[in-house]
């Protein structure tokens, strides 16, 4: 791209005025930076203040209590979220890694270009649409809500995230490595799996963790698929509780006790997401010199 010559007539302004504008704009941009970080700090502060007092051992080990009885926990929702995320990962990860490998290796192919584009488009699809789609093909025919439908919806959302990240990570592997393996007589598939994928592994683990952190907090795809469950359930064929969904139900309710649980649940959810994110950075940094940043 050639440098763009800006066709703005030079203004007959004094150096003083120009410097003044410069200082003013620098200040304004600095204010924008401060303003942009404030919402997060506010949010985390409120979460800690409202949620921290309600988190104890019982929160993790007990079932929700009926309205009017204080105490109780969200054990079923926490386990439910883990099951849903596990199901989603077992769908989204293999497909995403496979597609990512394809995109990295067939860089110029026309199919690769359109897959890359459509994967980005899929990434931008509203999660509620994924929810009604999963309901339509996995819940309606069976006649009842299930954890499997929820996990599948989340898994489909994971695919584009893992795909694009895998592609990027595989591309950072030097061609010389691949060529060396091929020169030694390795078949292509073993080169890809044992050399290229192996080298890109830390980056892919990071990408997977980031994707998991993203879908763990999703509520909209679960509303009509896994549906929620007041009771203990670990079956893939039954409706199952999930932390974000439970937070939604509690937040809507008129009861103070449930609001308290919603704050505590949010704090746990954010904690989970943050731990996974930090873990993801750590994996890349320790093995890869911070390529994943």
């Amino acid at each position: 791209m050639t440098a763009r010559v800006h066709a703005r007539a030079p203004r007959p302004r004094s150096l003083r005025a120009r410097r003044l504008v410069n200082v003013a704009m620098s200040g304004l941009l600095g204010v924008a930076a401060i303003l942009a970080t404030l919402p997060l700090l506010f949010l985390l502060w409120h979460l800690l203040r409202e949620g921290a007092t309600s988190i104890d051992l019982a929160f993790f080990t007990r079932m929700p209590k009926p309205v009017g009885e204080s105490g109780g926990g969200m054990a079923n929702a926490i386990v439910g979220t883990l099951i849903l995320v596990g199901t989603a990962t077992s769908i989204g990860l293999p497909v995403g890694i496979g597609a990512g490998l394809y995109l990295a290796e067939q860089r110029g192919a026309r199919l690769a270009t359109s897959v890359r584009f459509l994967s980005d488009v899929l990434n931008g699809m509203p999660s509620i649409v994924m929810g009604i789609f999963a309901w339509h093909i996995l819940v309606r025919p069976v006649g009842h809500f299930s954890a499997l439908a929820g996990g599948a919806a989340l898994g489909a959302m994971m695919i584009p995230l893992v795909t694009r990240a895998t592609e990027e990570m595989v591309r950072t592997v030097p061609t010389a490595l691949r060529e060396a393996a091929l020169a030694l007589g390795y078949p292509r598939w073993r080169t890809s799996v044992a050399i290229v994928l192996r080298t890109a592994l830390p980056g892919i683990v990071t990408a997977a963790l980031v994707a998991i952190a993203r879908i763990a907090g999703e509520t909209a795809p679960l509303l009509f698929t896994s549906f929620g469950n007041q009771f203990w359930s670990t079956s893939l064929g039954e409706p199952i509780a999930a932390l974000p969904h439970q937070i939604y139900e509690y937040a809507k309710s008129p009861y103070d006790d449930w609001h308290r649980l919603a704050w505590a649940g949010s704090l746990v959810l954010i904690g989970l997401v943050l731990i996974i994110s930090v873990l993801a950075r750590f994996v890349t940094r320790s093995r890869h010199g911070g390529v994943g940043d």
Binding site: A32, A33, L111, M125, P126, F133, E168, G185
Partner: protein, 329 residues
């Protein structure tokens, strides 16, 4: 979207560069590997087409019965089986555009500050804090919105806009300040899309060549003049792509908006009044829809939302890619 023809690059790949076919090169393992990765890659367009097809098919009964009226009518009455989605379409557009107006200047401001002004040691932490906004689950924004943001809007900001600034005379800031409102939804959306716009803008700004900046400075420009005349114009289409990407996010955002917008099927010019969006009507009514036509009408809302966001996202991606860099998610 009809390009689901796999295996095009097959022959070129099967032979090694020297043209001879090695023993291993055509091995069964290679063939399995290539078929498998191609199948996974093809799964993505297939999934997208499948989703679009199924949602439209499920929406068909409602679309056929109401036709264009589905988009233009304001009557949404599950009891009398009349469905018009105009208030939801209006609410989706107004809340998203308002969110963009609030978020875009701030997001671009941070991006410019980070790429041009920030001391090196502050760059990482500040971008991390802004990026972290994207990691907060929607439902947590909703919870925070209900118990922190709405009270502030109701007690401080809305009276301030209406009475102190005297904007109550305009149709946009009138009526009682309930809290649950179009304004509440727009503010939470603005916070939620801020990290997306700023991340894309930051990347394209960082990709502007040094020579571009040095040339401007060498001609005697102040730093701000350099940014305005040399850096931002260069990155313009990428920044625009980031903004449109943010718009796509805002249009489809469900949980936080459902919790804050007030959920009322009415078009009101006032931003203090409650509204509805396509995504939130699905979230609220889908589980309770007992009638086939009601379900179908909600599916039609999903179909409208799907196609609008697909188009918006396609435009955004195209703009970001056209900056001439390696495509990046």
């Amino acid at each position: 979207m009809t390009t689901v023809v796999p295996a095009a690059p097959e022959p070129a790949e099967a032979a090694p560069p020297d043209g001879t076919r090695t023993l291993e090169g055509s091995s069964i393992g290679d063939r399995i590997y290539r078929t498998l990765t191609t199948a996974f890659a093809v799964a993505i367009p297939v999934l997208l087409v499948f989703i679009a097809f199924e949602v439209v098919a499920a929406a068909w009964p409602a679309l056929r019965q109401f036709g264009v009226g589905f988009l233009t009518s304001s009557e949404w009455d599950p009891v009398r089986l009349q469905f018009g989605a105009a208030p939801m379409i209006y609410g989706t557009i107004v809340s998203s555009v308002l969110a963009l107006i609030l978020a875009a200047p701030l997001a671009i401001g941070v991006a410019i500050w980070l790429s041009e002004f920030s001391p090196r040691w502050l760059r990482q932490p500040v971008s991390f804090l802004v990026d972290l906004l994207a990691a907060i689950p929607s439902v947590v924004y909703g919870l925070w919105g209900i118990f922190v943001l709405l009270p502030i809007l109701r007690e401080t900001i809305m009276p301030f806009l209406r009475d102190t600034l005297g904007l109550g005379n305009t149709p946009f800031f009138t009526g009682p300040a309930y809290g649950n409102s179009m304004l509440g939804a727009a503010v939470i959306l603005a916070i939620m899309i801020l990290p997306y716009i700023s991340a894309v803008s930051r990347e394209v700004l960082m990709a502007v060549p040094r020579s571009q900046r040095e040339a401007a400075l060498a001609m005697g420009a102040t730093k701000w003049e350099m940014i305005r005349d040399a850096v931002v114009p260069y990155a313009r289409s990428g920044i625009l792509g980031g903004i449109i990407l943010g718009l796509g996010r805002a249009l489809g955002e469900t949980m936080a908006v459902t919790m804050l917008i007030g959920n009322r099927h009415e078009i009101s010019a006032s931003l203090f009044a409650p509204g509805y969006t396509l995504a939130s009507v699905i979230a609220n009514e889908f589980a309770e829809a007992t009638n086939e036509l009601h379900t179908s009408a909600l599916m039609a809302c999903g179909a409208v939302l799907l196609f609008v966001t697909l188009v918006v996202n396609a435009i955004a991606r195209w703009l970001v890619w056209s900056v001439g860099r390696e495509p990046k998610s």
